[in-house]
């Protein structure tokens, strides 16, 4: 079965679903709202600076505006898209439809492939939302419309896909919607940080810990803070944020691992 057919199949499944529509609307509305608020705060800070060269002002100018937008979007990706990933998977388990689709004739491989191809399409839609919002922002500022740096858009896409697959993985492992969503959000919002700090305090600062999934996915859309500032804030090189290229390479490895784990789980376990 070709990927397009699988996509069509998943679309017929999720498009009429109320919860899926809610998540999609929430994502778009929250992104617009938070960006609007951030811009309002930024503008206010600029006005209050009485002509002094305020560093916040440059945050909202090209090309930093795309990075700020991506950073704001990263929270939506983590919380909303991640939870959507959990829901899309656990919904199949609670309705026993994943099993039923195999009974009806799909192979396990096709089921697994659909669950990877569909998040790729959802992540693309989320990235389109980011791009449209960014372009609207630029058009509104009347300083000419610039396309985002390619790394920014790619990082945003990989991050959206990463959180969707991480959510899907939580759904596969826990299977129950409420528990899986709680587990996923707890891990994303604080468990990984707590684990990292426990490790830092007891074992030492190891740069490898920055490659933990949430830390790494966050590294794909960093705030546009100059390296000189980072060097002051993070005195230890082991805790310096990942570079975009490190984060991109790491994210690609993770995406491969998530997909491989998912395929293995689908092919080996009883449904």
């Amino acid at each position: 079965m070709n990927p397009l057919h699988l996509l069509k199949m998943e679309w017929s499944k999720y498009a009429p679903n109320g919860a899926f529509r809610f998540f999609a609307c929430l994502y778009a509305v929250a992104l617009v709202l938070v960006v609007y608020l951030a811009r309002s705060i930024g503008k206010a800070a600029t006005i209050n600076s009485y002509g002094v060269n305020n560093p916040i002002q440059s945050f909202f100018d090209f090309p930093h505006n795309w990075q700020v937008l991506a950073y704001i979007g990263s929270w939506m990706n983590a919380i909303i898209l991640g939870s959507l990933g959990v829901f899309m998977m656990t919904m199949e388990f609670s309705n026993r439809t994943l099993r039923q689709s195999v009974i009806f004739g799909l192979t396990r491989y096709e089921v697994a492939a659909a669950k990877v191809v569909w998040p790729m399409a959802v992540a693309l839609a989320a990235t389109s939302c980011y791009l449209l919002l960014g372009l609207a922002w630029e058009a509104h500022d009347e300083v000419g419309v610039h396309l985002p740096p390619i790394g920014c858009a790619l990082g945003y896409y990989l991050q959206a896909l990463g959180y969707l697959l991480l959510g899907t993985l939580a759904g596969v492992l826990i299977r129950q919607t409420a528990l899986a969503t709680l587990g996923f959000l707890a891990y994303v919002l604080f468990l990984e940080s707590v684990l990292r700090w426990i490790f830092y305090l007891n074992v030492g600062k190891v740069r490898l810990l920055l490659f933990l999934p949430v830390q790494l996915l966050g590294g794909l859309t960093p705030l546009p803070i100059p390296d000189s500032v980072n060097q002051i804030v993070y005195s230890d090189p082991a805790t310096m944020p990942l570079s975009t290229s490190e984060a991109t390479a790491g994210a690609l490895v993770y995406l491969g691992l998530f997909a491989a784990f998912f395929f293995r789980r689908m092919s080996k376990s009883d449904l």
Binding site: M1, H5, K8, M9, S12, K13, P16, N17, G18, N95, R96, T97, R99, Q100, S101, V102, I103, F104, G105, L106, T107, R108, Y109, E110, K268, D270, L271
Partner: protein, 295 residues
């Protein structure tokens, strides 16, 4: 042509053996009943041949060993309860099943007509009664005109009217010459619908064959008289009576093959016992099933 060949199939869950080296063959055109008490391994067996469970040992092949993913699309099945997307209606759910099977234009009208759901085709699945859900599951099984149907307890949880409706649909489908494999613990249902049967208990195959070959040819009669104890004493001494079972205040007799029940009446009269009840019982699968599973 063999539609399904199962060899030495075993499934173990921890210390529980759900299937213990089961061998079975289903030929084309058979309506094959899998019967057994609850927990005997029927659903596990169907789960394995439908690829939702992995066997611990043994193997099975479909259609004389034809390989490839498309083999499964020649089979229509539902296992246990009907599972569909609750927020989708019958049309949407069946279209989705068609896309699972790679069928581009399923004849939804005909299918919904067959299962009498045409008028509720636009209602969401979650608003359906259990009987309607079972009927939609039957329609889903038929998408893509499969050669084989696998039905697990198709009348489970239905009221008598719903049971009759579903049985009639199955019989209509069977009349089209399709092979049907049906698990059920309702023996009367299996006896009415199936041409062949396999009896399973504790994951082991106890008997298999055509329904006629499973049912013995010993006639069974139910008798009663004013003095039941005297009748029992008399019949116990008769060589033509093979087995007597007390059933309330009547006696169920299993006679030697070829014995005429009129002979029994005549002998009773000659010994001064007037029978006030004599009914020739149809040999049922239930009797055979109980006999086989209690051995």
């Amino acid at each position: 042509m063999s539609v399904l060949t199962i060899k030495d199939l075993t499934k173990v869950y921890g210390s529980v053996v759900a299937l213990a080296g089961l061998d079975l063959t289903v030929e084309k055109g058979q309506i094959f009943g899998l019967v057994g008490p609850n927990g005997s391994g029927k659903t596990t067996l169907l789960g394995i041949i439908l690829d939702v469970l992995h066997p611990s040992a043994g193997s099975f092949t479909w259609f004389d060993g034809v390989e490839g993913s498309h083999v499964r699309r020649r089979i229509g099945a539902f296992l246990e309860t009907p599972n569909f997307y609750p927020y989708l209606n019958a049309d949407q759910n069946l279209s989705l099943v068609a896309s699972f099977k790679g069928v581009s234009k399923p004849p939804l009208d005909n299918l919904l007509e067959l299962v009498q759901l045409k008028e509720r085709r636009c209602s969401r699945f979650k608003t359906y009664s259990l009987g309607m859900k079972q009927r939609l599951a039957l329609a889903a099984c038929l998408v893509g005109d499969p050669e084989v149907l696998i039905l697990d307890e198709p009348t489970n949880g239905l009221d008598p009217e719903g049971m009759v409706e579903v049985r009639e649909i199955i019989q209509k489908i069977a009349a089209q010459g399709k092979t049907i494999i049906m698990a059920s613990h309702i023996l009367d249902e299996v006896e009415r619908i199936c041409s062949h049967v396999a009896i399973i208990k504790n994951g082991k195959l106890l008997a298999t064959g055509a329904i006629g070959s499973i049912l013995s040819n010993r006639p069974t009669v139910e008798v009663g008289a004013g003095d039941g104890e005297k009748l029992f004493q008399f019949l116990s001494g008769l060589s033509l009576v093979k087995k007597i079972t007390r059933r309330d205040n009547r006696l169920l007799l299993e006679l030697e093959p070829g014995t005429n029940h009129a002979e029994l009446n005549r002998l009773s009269c000659e010994h001064g016992i007037v029978l006030d009840h004599l009914v020739l019982k149809r040999q049922s699968l239930e009797v055979e099933f109980l006999e086989i599973t209690r051995k």
